[in-house]
Symmetry: D2
Subunit: 363 residues, 4 copies
């Protein structure tokens, strides 16, 4: 397996093939920590299947919510199953019809395995594929030595990129990129972009805004430390959130009358209600974070002609573009590395707020 | 003044010029009916001013709300002032810098007199002009023999169009057109447009959908009579609104999983909460009517990637296009004609629900 | 096999399976007529393969050019091979990974079998797929009892549509639709669309313009008969082409200063040089027909800010939309039906100008 | 008059008003150098007029062509008249209806004085205004102490910007910006932009590409020195133009199969024929420079689905955006300063190739 320094270490594939067990992090019961255990290695079943030797798997808040059981009613996976929905690694084996990657290729995985045949897929909106699986959420994921995915999910990585440095971009980063990319056409010189929340998604959003738009970027956060980071990532102005009134006053002042686009990476705890107040006429509130509810009188919506725009995870093409930016050094992740065996330490650190940057598990 | 049959009757302009009084409908006090009285005729003051001999002025629900005083806190006009914000007629006199119309031209007026210099005007979004007046709402309007407007508000009409047949398109019709026009790019063959409310605005919306899009049109209304009209105007499917559950069930069925766009011409009394339930993934709720409040959990907004789009009155260019459709016979208004002196009869009929179609006052 | 009247006739599939030969029109040598002969029936090889019982195959001028050998240097098929690139029929058998159609479904075939993995496919531009085959042009086509295609090429047809009525839309019609669809966003009320050539492609283009745009349509042709047809299909104005000067004069007059878009369905014999002269400032010359060369001084291109837009065959999604319009009765083909055995009669009629409408071969 | 160091020097306006003569560079006869002479100062005539104390006027190749008489048949100005179509300065006096600037404001002038009433103006395409004058080309320009322009041409400058540093952006820079801005929506990460010609327009184009797009930029030029500059301005790759074959080979290699957009800032001497060869399928040749003729077989246009896009000078909004970039330090001009009296020295230097960067005349 190639290591992060780019020196290829020859994988002893013959040895591996003799074994039929791989290490994996499986959730057995909601409310309990997952267990690291040995499971049967995945097998190619369909012509589009791809098996990947996992190089890195991101750990994120969604994993905590999965463990708590919040996603059960929506995705109802069969327990026990393997967690991990932000994955990168090296192709191990491919199905009979796969032509876009071959064994040994370094790849990052789009979170969904799309079909390529449904209407959403046909227009490039594969994150709305009608027939997709969502590894790590509704089927076995990537916190394991091997992952089963498919040909339409794998993005081949440039030589300069290592799984551990990009894995966490596969879902969280991709969501932030997607929202900014959708808005990019209107963010020309002189326009005002406001970011609420400079955390995990937000700090990718700020870098993307600086890389692909020419807007003026103002970042709002409750943490002075997060704002400090935001400034190094491209924010032109920052506003420490003390009260809604203060934020509104400062943002309207800085932006000369309100934002063209507010990127709301929080979507709860009041941010979702504050966001529309930060818009100028004809502006748009991009909802990315979630938890609260948007609530705006229709008279305000029409008289100001403002919009609320929903944002899911990005498309496959978004992920290709995000990897290009990463390769060019224009988007960077802050990470904390853990061995796969230490997954519950990582979970503990994440819950306790001790985890700096994005947690990455290395099998 | 040309009459509606297209036969020109020579206006005795010399006589008129000797007089300095014109008949007008003025509001003296909120809560009281306006009075028909003689007032000084308007005078050209600025280089872009245009004075129009009013041919027809639309009466609409907004006038009732103005009389009730609802708009006072927003627009605070100086009482007494002349009502009438949907106006068409013939140019009488123009300011020194006006080059686009001349005395005698038949014109319809955009509701706002825009400046042509502010950022909104420079991108063709003149309905957001920073320096506009709004005749009939915050300054003297068109329920009078003459109206003061400006060069950037007047749209020259084709010979085939008469003021009484188009006046009511100047505001209500223009708003409906604007919303459909903004959505038109995505309403190609096979897409599903759903209209909530087939009333004054809705029936223009339906005709516009049929004229400028190739979507399949489904109309929802509480009145079977309104649905009957909708079918003659281009609706492919209609749904009688008995309960939200029933509407949702039928619309999801007809549209094969939800609308790409829901045009909500009601925006209150529950329509604004029902609309998002009628959308498919990636669909948009176009808010046009108002009174209620949009309220959607952010988790729904992001997981379905749906949008809420605000819609104000149309731009000047929208009005030009709407007049083209009208001239081509693709959009038609149903009207009831009253002489200007009978304005309070018209108001009474409108309040009592006796007014069929749009009320038109003829000076 | 279902017949055209919609009455299902049970296919004796058991009998057929025992046979391994099907009738087909094969080209053995350039410059010679193709032969009707028995060949081995196609077999499913890949997981996305689809075999179709051909219901109808269009014959078009491109077939004559193939027979003449003009496409050999571009597509170099291995002779002998089966002609026919405009095909519709009923699914007979599907590969292991095909989920979007099943045996018995009525389908029309996109001319290319795209891969779903290359960059063009991922953005829905499958007609530029890097890995496609082009049945009837570079591999065996549909002038046969059976056709091998793939899952990404088949569009399931509504019950109301029969193969013989739509087959010729699969390539020629799709090309016309694609060009109009690309321009549709700017063809709002009051804009001027000019069509050069009301023949095979042009008459689909005119119907599409009338169905999906609200532009004013002016059609230019050398044949009064073609213009007569154009008027019944939605043309608002027609210009008989006697000389370039006369056409230019009339078109500039009708359009009030030139077209926003000229659709050039000829692209040779001077049409490609005339087209830019028919544009207004900021207008676009859509090239669809071919044979000549565009030649415009750069000073004209920049001072008038005009564009030349290339148009290939449509995408899969374009074909889905075109089938929707056809099902709605908004696009119709004029056809002449021949049995497959009479292919060389059809070819003779096409060459001699005796073939009215599009020639359709029925196996 | 404020000086370039930002220190305001009080203008002795009383003294000036007593005089009625200003210094100006006037062309008396084609083929002869213009003369510096005293002429009557301009006067406000219309309500939208603005008189500007010129701070700087750019000298460009178009001025040489005007002097040679090349523009006479197109613009036919009345000789003698004042040259200078790239102007910036300070507002001196405004007409009765002007509200967007006041005396003392620092401004740059859009090259056209648009009307705000014609269809082009109403959609923000004011560079196609039907009623515009073009100071310095068809009426008196800005190589003088004062310039008559209008309210719709003036862009108020941020305090940090001085006329001498921006004047040459008013026409040449604006044209380059406009072309890149039109293409910006498709130039996302991973796309390939190719620039032909890194001269006066090209070097602004390269800076704009780097500032408002995230494409990979490859620059082609015949001068190694120009390529050196290009690299400092944001070019990722450069190609020294030795032969068309060599350029094609290198560009196709660097771009992985051709450019998405080629910006042709030359448009003559073969560049206009080479450009289409550098495109990938679905790519666009943006024509900006002129002199030659585009010549492409229609079969190439359709089979590759490529486009040719014309580009005139930018709009007023483009100029506002370009000034924003300039203020942010993202676009910079290289200039050589001459006093107005030395205009013929500057012309001589420009003709002889001795003028480094853009020539700027200071009254």
């Amino acid at each position: 397996m190639p290591n992060d320094e780019g020196v290829a270490i020859v994988r002893k594939s013959l040895d591996l093939e003799e074994e039929d067990l791989v290490k994996a992090v499986r959730l057995h019961q909601y409310g309990e920590n997952p267990r690291v255990e040995e499971v049967a290695e995945p097998a190619i079943k369909g012509p589009w299947d791809v098996i990947v030797d996992v190089g890195a798997a991101g750990l994120c808040r969604t994993d905590l919510h999965i463990i708590e059981g919040q996603w059960e009613p929506i995705q109802h996976p069969s327990l026990p199953y393997i967690l991990g929905h932000e994955n990168a690694g090296w192709v191990r084996e491919v199905g009979s019809a796969v032509t876009n990657v071959k064994a040994g290729d370094t790849v990052i995985m789009h979170p969904l395995t799309s079909c390529g045949l449904c209407p959403a897929c046909r227009v490039g909106q594969d994150s709305h594929c009608e027939n997709a699986t969502f590894p790590g959420v509704n089927v076995n994921g990537g916190m394991a030595e091997q992952l089963l995915t498919n040909a339409r999910a794998v993005v081949k990585l440039d030589e300069g990129l290592q799984p551990r440095n990009v894995a966490a971009l596969a879902d969280a980063g991709l969501t932030a990129y997607h929202a900014v990319r959708k808005a990019a056409d209107v963010l020309f010189p002189g326009t005002q972009a406001v970011v609420i929340g400079a955390g995990g998604l937000g700090h990718i959003g700020i870098q993307t805004l600086a890389a692909i738009t020419s807007s003026t970027i103002t970042v709002v956060d409750r943490s002075e430390e997060a704002l400090e980071l935001a400034r190094t990532l491209g924010a032109h102005h920052t506003v420490l959130s003390t009260s809604d009134e203060e934020v509104e006053k400062q943002v309207l002042d800085i932006t000369g009358g309100g934002a063209h686009i507010v990127f709301d990476f929080v979507g709860e705890r009041g941010a979702e209600l504050l966001a529309p107040r930060l818009l100028r006429n004809r502006g748009s509130h991009y909802v990315i974070g979630y938890g609260g509810a948007v609530n705006i009188p229709t008279i305000d919506i029409i008289s100001r002609e403002i919009n609320v725009i929903g944002n899911l995870v990005g498309t496959y093409n978004d992920l290709v573009e995000l990897m290009t930016l990463t390769e060019q050094g224009r988007v960077k992740l802050h990470t904390s590395i853990y061995p796969l065996d230490a997954v519950n330490d990582a979970i503990g650190d994440l819950e306790a707020g001790r985890l700096v940057g994005r947690g990455i598990l290395i099998p």
